[in-house]
């Protein structure tokens, strides 16, 4: 392992992991709420700092990672994640605890990831995807647990057909994937419980 790899990790892993986790926990508990999220991590390109920081906070040898083609193409990204998390990087998205997606517009269908079983719906993939922007009051109307009435949010880019896939994902409940979206300095989440409608 190179010294460069080791030195590019978090300065205070204990406190940074806690802060990252808390932001994610809050976002997942309150879909539609946009969390301020400015991780200090400087991972190698093309791994965005936000999803890199969440991966370091949550993945380890008990929680395998799947990388989208853009990330998987970089040996440096794989080496970095392996070194800092100890996680296995899997080729099958359905074998991943966390899927890291840098190219959101080309994210595979949600149904390709682990959806859990009726008896163990928790054995499912959490997708952590980088997007360009997350805005309040966007064209997506959200409802469900964590939302008092309804919430509005805008995600850019929005992948074609994703709204329908999220509806199908919702219909699988309690099975399904959970989606975490990270934009520069912002974080939001769409857990499987959220009903998403374009308005």
């Amino acid at each position: 392992m190179s010294a460069a790899l080791a030195s590019s990790g978090p300065a205070d892993p204990v406190i940074e992991a806690q802060a990252d986790f808390r932001s994610l926990m809050n976002a997942l508990a309150r879909p539609g709420t946009i969390e301020a999220f400015a991780p200090k991590l400087l991972p190698p390109a093309p791994l965005p700092a936000g999803i890199g920081s969440l991966a370091l906070a949550l993945a380890d040898h008990e929680a395998p990672l799947w990388l989208d083609p853009q990330l998987a193409a970089s040996d440096e990204v794989s080496a970095y994640l392996r070194f800092h998390t100890g996680a296995k990087i899997v080729a099958d998205p359905a074998a991943a605890t966390f899927a890291l997606v840098a190219d959101f517009a080309r994210m595979p269908p949600l149904a390709n990831f682990a959806l859990g079983t009726d008896e163990y719906p928790d054995r499912s993939t959490t997708i952590i995807a980088a997007v360009d922007a997350i805005e309040a009051d966007g064209p997506l109307e959200l409802a469900g647990p964590g939302i008092a009435t309804t919430a509005r949010i805008g995600i850019a880019p929005w992948r074609d057909g994703l709204t329908a896939e999220l509806a199908a994902n919702r219909a699988l409940f309690p099975r399904g994937v959970d989606l975490v979206l990270v934009a520069p300095r912002r974080l939001a989440a769409l857990p499987r419980t959220t009903r998403v409608r374009e308005v």
Partner: protein, 327 residues
């Protein structure tokens, strides 16, 4: 497994610098690998409201059954900025609450408080505070038996199937048998609830008086069962319905008299035995709520008495609690 060769495992357990947290143990006691495992379980629990996520509960330096689940959840979510409150039976002064609060003051160096309003994380055993919780707070419950169906079906393999099928007939039969026998549902605490229209969940042994506070609550509610190795959650603003029947609607306990110390009504009261001659008084179970009211000048019947001798006046003695008449 080659866990030893990664950066993450090499860096833990880290001794966190600063504060009173310098104990030789990691920040908030748990090692980072354990925290990640618990955090992953918490995230799943939030995404699947009411579903019990299995987690590899660790042996803690306090006994199983004494809050190890709640302590592990708190340790996994707490950060240096948090302000922690710990209650047992509604009170900050009960020995186990004191012990857990001290544990986190020592291992995480965080600020602790007895004031509900000031806390960002409240760990509780058997009560939900009377003061309405806010969206800036997390309520962490200590849970002894997380499975609401356990006393009806002891086998995990069976109850897991029942949850998978959303087959809660057993529970309805049990509640209905209560009605047939007693004329009403005879469950007063750990009263089962349905979360977000899907999972039936054990609210932990809180009195059913507290059940309505779980519904549409602004705070995130997390539940940790250490010995039974389960974590579950109710996200904010989630429908939590106490199971009942149309002709026998759910009702909470009501008390005929206000708190003897602060005069509060519509709160849960503890019965305190004053003497061996039948003298009783009823006081707030939520000690912070009661103290705050008294500080605001509210005075209950006991404090209003002119003398400082133990009261036996009719104003305080034998205030009966009424079971299930009202909402």
């Amino acid at each position: 497994m080659s866990a030893a060769l990664t950066a993450t495992d090499r860096s833990s357990p880290t001794q966190h610098k600063g504060g009173e947290g310098s104990t030789g143990y990691n920040f908030a006691y748990l090692d980072e690998q354990t925290k990640r495992m618990i955090r992953r379980a918490v995230l799943k629990a939030i995404a699947i409201p009411g579903y019990q996520v299995p987690f590899a509960s660790r042996e803690m330096p306090m006994p199983y059954g004494w809050g190890t689940g709640g302590v592990q959840v708190t340790a996994a979510i707490i950060g240096p900025q948090d302000v922690l409150k710990v209650i047992d039976q509604g009170s900050d002064d009960t020995t186990n609450a004191v012990s857990i609060r001290k544990f986190f003051a020592k291992t995480a160096g965080v600020e602790t408080t007895t004031k509900t309003a000031d806390a960002t994380i409240i760990q509780t055993r058997h009560r939900i505070p009377e003061r309405t919780l806010t969206s800036d707070q997390v309520l962490v419950y200590q849970v002894p038996i997380p499975e609401p169906l356990r006393y009806l079906e002891p086998r995990e393999t069976e109850t897991r199937k029942l949850h998978a099928l959303a087959d809660y007939g057993l529970m309805h039969v049990k509640l209905y048998e209560d009605i047939a026998r007693h004329g009403h549902i005879a469950t007063t605490y750990a009263y089962p609830v349905e979360v977000a229209g899907r999972y039936v969940m054990d609210p932990s042994p809180t009195p059913k008086f507290d059940n309505p506070k779980m519904d549409d609550c602004a705070a995130l509610q997390l539940f940790g069962a250490g010995r039974e190795k389960r974590i579950y959650a109710v996200p904010p603003h989630t429908k939590v319905r106490s199971l009942d029947f149309e002709d026998h609607p759910f009702a909470v306990q009501t008390f005929d008299k206000p708190c003897a110390l602060c005069g509060a009504t519509g709160v849960y009261l503890d019965e305190v035995v004053l003497d061996d001659a039948g003298g009783r008084m009823f006081v707030c179970s939520d000690s912070d709520f009661c103290e705050e009211r008294r500080a605001d000048g509210h005075v209950g019947a006991m404090l209003a008495l002119p003398s400082s001798s133990p009261a036996r006046g009719e104003g305080v003695a034998a205030v009966p609690v009424t079971e299930g008449s009202g909402t």
